[in-house]
Amino acid sequence: MLLQSIKLENFRQFRNESIDFADGNNGKNVTIIIGENGTGKTTFAQAFFWCLYGETEFSDKNMLNKVVASELRPGQEAKVQVVLKLKHGDVDYTLIREQIYRKDSSNRIKPDNTVFDIAKKDASGNTSYIKKSACESEVKGILPKELSRYFFFDGERIEKMSKDISNGKKAADFADAVKGLLGLNGMYSAIQHFNPRVRSSVISNYESSYNSQSNAKIKEYTDTINRCNAEIEQIDARIEELDSEIETATVRKSDKVKELKQYEEGEKLQEEKEKLQRKIAAAEKSKANVYKLMSKDFNGNLSSFFSISLIQRALELLSEKDFAGKDIPYMHAKTIEYLLKQKVCLCGTHLDEGTIPYAKVKELIDFLPPQSISTTIGDFKKESKRRAVDKKDLYGQLADHMAVISQQDDDLTDLRDDLAIVEGKLSGGDVRDKVRAINHEIQVCDQTIAKDRSERDRKIAEKARKESERDRADTERRNLTLLDETNKKIEIYKTYAERIYKELLVEYSTSEEKIRTRLQTTINDIFKQIYNGGLYLEIDEKYHISVYVTDYEGDVETSTAQSISVIFAFITGIIKMARDNRNSTDEDTKLLSSEPYPLVMDAPLSAFDKRRIKTVCEALPETAEQVIIFIKDTDGELAEDYMGDKIGSRHHFDKKNEFETTLV
């Protein structure tokens, strides 16, 4: 692709400006456009983008020149237009993108949708217009959007691009750029035209063109083959489903297992809770036991405890009296009555009523039980003594028990506090139930996985069977077809096609590797030019780029500058290689179709160290068919100095005011 010219109408600060690009006549293939930051370089670069794809990176999507916008009266409209003329292959393209802006009654500017037209003139001079619906894909065929940024080298976005390179993020994009630009597209396209999976390909075509009328059996085999293929497709679909299900179940299971771990905690807490509850119950029981002991002690000591003080006083009282003296031991009143009745005393004296002996003996009754009390008192004292001896220290006993209870109460309080803490942690239902539920889910997942896996195995076996069935049918058919002239021919054509297909596939991957290696070499050559070999890089088969610094003594820049250099070298490497391919006389290389692309760079020189600029300037014109550079005033002189004889077109931005810039 080579740019011929671009014309801007009312596109932001450019009311009516155009540029013709140096096209390589007289060896002059460099176009420079000078302007300070803020004069519109970026805008200009964005104009390309807008024309090709209808998008820009501006946050303000309103492209209309502000002066024009302000001059509009309500109801009036103005047009924004970019016309890009370029040549791609043998075809000349004119791409026109337009957008109407209207001022409404509330003085607001409203844009319509953009209108895109492409006119093309082919090698024989015939002009035609591309259908609106085909315009986008036409542009894609010229320069896909994803690749466009490799050509519109933006000094400001370098940082991001270099990061992408170093962490291998955009490796696939690079891969595509390389393959696309360096001529593998032709081969790729050929492969697709053969691919048996593509319905209308050469091989598929032959497949379906077996003349079924010439031989019914062949038709049968063809049907079998088709049926098997359909079934195989179904099986593949099912296998994909199963894989997805297995994946989901596996992920779910691992989630649940993780969840379970959370609850392990909870289960321990549950156990602890129950342990505490048991301890509390035991402590309460033990306390109740103490209550029982206390009651028992109380009950067992009642009489002594309550009476002892009275006993002391009573005994004191009694001790002041003397009862023993006149008492006759072990004699009862009944004895005296007996004697009185008998009228004879023990000693033989007559006891007649009214006599002194009688009176004296009768007196004795007072001193005998039941009248005499000394024995009773003696008994009383005995009982007193017994109670005194029996008396236990009830108060002391109860005090001891109370101490135990106090300790138990403390323990119970502690246990209850602990329990409260544990219960607090266990908010939300019985943990055991949750754990059970989760375990159940895990089980379900395991079952699903096992079931699906075995089904999958069965399906794979089934597929293998179908495939052999199909292959058998194919072989049989082939045998039959060889017996039939027409079909025999088709069989032969198909064999050719299959062979070509196989070989193309191999060549594609071989070429791809060759290209990659060559690219690496080309880039390293560029580095040699600029850095005298201080840097070199390697590209692996996944297009991951590793940069190596070989010259630590020398003046290799900081890593940011390094990355810039890498990208610069990369892009120029690709473009150079494409150009070399095109101009190559080598037979094999000619097979690679490389379209040259222009190198459009925005402020490249500012990214380089002063020392490098000379070498960069010298290398640039050699890399591409067409070089277009936007540079700052300050670098402009350097560019003139180093590239002067290659410059075929010069412009510079003249900023008239905030809203208008012209090109000189």
Binding site: M294, F306, S309, K382, E383, K385, K391
Partner: protein, 178 residues
């Protein structure tokens, strides 16, 4: 005396019932094991605290009968000696009832139980003692902890007020002395 059934009536009956009920469901502990235990010890309490009480005839609203709690005759006879001992103690020491010492000794020993007023006096101490025990051990308590605390405090108070100066040795001495 002390050879037949004894009846608590009215509020005293209610209180005796409370004093002999289990205050802790877990252990089934009781303050007093049986009604007889209250009967034998209440008079001592009544006397020591200087409390007597008249018979009470509060009725049970459900049955419309006067509350009663009985101590069976055989139980009373079984504890006769204890009851008599306690009776003697009180007679000996109740100065308010009988200021004369020798007369008290007679009431306690020689002519024990001959004067019905003596038994009457004893009974009034029984009732007064029940009231004291109720106030000290039952009133205001609801949880087993409360009962135990009240019991402990009662015993502590009793020990301090009545038993602190008593020593078994002294008593032994007094017993030996003739």
């Amino acid at each position: 005396m002390f050879d037949k059934q004894y009846r608590f009536k009215g509020r005293h009956a209610v209180r005796v019932d409370q004093l002999t009920s289990a205050f802790d469901a877990e252990s089934k502990a009781q303050l007093f094991g049986r009604n007889i235990d209250v009967y034998t010890n209440a008079p001592l309490i009544g006397f020591l605290y200087g409390r007597t009480a008249e018979t009470d005839d509060t009725k049970n609203p459900e049955t419309n009968q006067v509350y009663n709690q009985n101590v069976m005759g055989d139980r009373v006879i079984y504890s006769q000696e204890e009851l008599m001992f306690n009776f003697r103690l009180i007679m000996l020491l109740d100065k308010q009832y009988e200021p004369d010492e020798d007369k008290r000794i007679d009431k306690a020993f020689r002519h024990m139980g001959e004067d019905p007023k003596d038994e009457e006096r004893f009974d009034s101490y029984v009732r007064g003692g029940v009231d004291v025990l109720y106030e000290k051990l039952i009133e205001g308590a609801s949880e087993p902890d409360d009962y135990i605390n009240k019991l402990y405090e009662f015993v502590e108070e009793f020990q301090d007020r009545f038993n602190s100066e008593i020593s078994s040795d002294d008593i032994m001495q007094l017993c030996i002395k003739k």
